[in-house]
């Protein structure tokens, strides 16, 4: 898989998880344990739970979904 495809998969999963209503702890854990995102594990391990909660609120409040989603 190319680096671009890996990044794309990570961004897709991140926004999907943030929009899911899961707790911030669960979002971080899913990203850290999913083997598809092994290359981002160190990056995600630095995530601050408060900021993940803010991101989740931002997505739930302001996001516009794609028409087919």
């Amino acid at each position: 898989m190319t680096d671009q495809a890996k990044l794309s998969e990570y961004q897709d999963a991140l926004l999907e998880l943030l929009a899911s209503g899961m707790s911030e702890g669960e979002v971080i854990q899913r990203l850290q344990t999913d083997p598809r995102f092994a290359c981002y594990r160190d990056y995600v391990s630095q995530f601050d739970p408060d900021m993940v909660a803010v991101a989740s609120e931002l997505i739930c409040k302001w996001a516009i979904r794609k028409p087919d989603q």
Binding site: Y10, Q11, D50
Partner: protein, 293 residues
């Protein structure tokens, strides 16, 4: 210190409270420049005739600047929506004369989401490559200098520490500029307990052409790690700390051309809040006068 005083302007909101709050500022010719979130009509926002008049007036005076919100610069996939956004932008920039155009650092489109608030990305070679390619497309569409705004949001302290250098690498590819949002700096200082001067110095200050000032709000900290989380909600008066940062930034950023006050539409419905907004504007004017005269 620079000798040319930056233009003081407002971020245009097509709402009645904004019109009421700013009527006398425009009537008294106190406003030097206007910033327009030019992609709002793509979301169905109607730009009323009084807004069109202002846009035309400031365009004619070479004092109109563009600010994009929904490009999603650092999305991994280049989508049809982004292509359409760029085509719309190309037409908009042909129809009015913009001095420059900015967008936000970060990504806001991926997976099921077409648009959202911009979020931080892993700052690696892949993101850098994608960002440079998208900035080139943005510059091509606007045919004017383009720049990036620093993000208020960060997933981690590491995001905060590296953003300035990463933005510098991105904008260097198009000889672009930095839009330094001082409330966003304030958010990061508050949320990560940082030294403001040190954080500001992590940005390429000689490339700052524009400053943004706004207010925001506090949310509870779910983790208890901090007293509260500072949010860039643009719905309140400018805090004193941001005015202090403005005086500092004007000293450190010798190429600043515009200082823009932002406040979200429909957040100053009461006359006292409109007065508060004008007070903020006057305070920025005083800081500029003090810094340059």
């Amino acid at each position: 210190m620079q000798t040319n005083k930056p233009k003081l302007g407002l971020s245009l909101m097509p709402t009645e409270d904004f019109r009421m709050a700013t009527e006398q500022l425009f009537a008294q010719d106190k406003v030097d420049a206007l910033e327009f979130n030019f992609d709002q009509p793509l979301n169905g926002v109607v730009i009323a005739p009084w807004c069109q008049d202002l846009l035309d007036k400031f365009s004619s005076a070479s004092a109109l600047i563009g600010h994009g919100v929904n490009l999603s610069l650092l999305s991994a996939q280049f989508t049809k929506r982004q292509q359409e956004w760029l085509e719309y932008t190309r037409e908009e920039f042909k129809s009015r004369r913009y001095v420059h155009a900015s967008e936000h650092f970060g990504f806001s489109e991926a997976g099921p989401i077409a648009q959202a608030a911009p979020l931080a990305v892993p700052m690696d070679a892949q993101s850098l490559y994608l960002g440079k390619e998208m900035l080139k497309r943005y510059a091509d569409a606007t045919q004017c200098p383009v720049g990036l705004e620093n993000l208020a949001f960060a997933f981690s302290l590491e995001d905060v520490k590296r953003q300035g250098e990463f933005i510098d690498q991105l904008i260097s590819s198009v000889d672009g500029f930095l839009l330094l949002d001082l409330h966003n700096i304030y958010c990061q200082v508050a949320n990560f307990d940082l030294d403001a001067l040190q954080l500001i110095h992590s940005y390429p200050l000689s490339k700052v052409r524009e400053l943004h000032l706004s207010g925001g709000s506090w949310s509870p900290s779910l983790s208890g790690k901090r007293i509260a989380v500072r949010r860039d909600t643009h719905d309140d008066a400018v805090p004193q700390e941001v005015f202090n940062l403005t005086a500092l930034a004007l000293k450190l950023c010798p190429n600043t051309q515009f200082v823009i006050l932002e406040r979200l539409g429909n957040t100053m419905l009461e006359p006292e809040l409109q007065e508060e907004y004008r007070d903020d504007f006057d305070t920025i004017r005083e800081i500029l006068d003090y810094s340059y005269d």
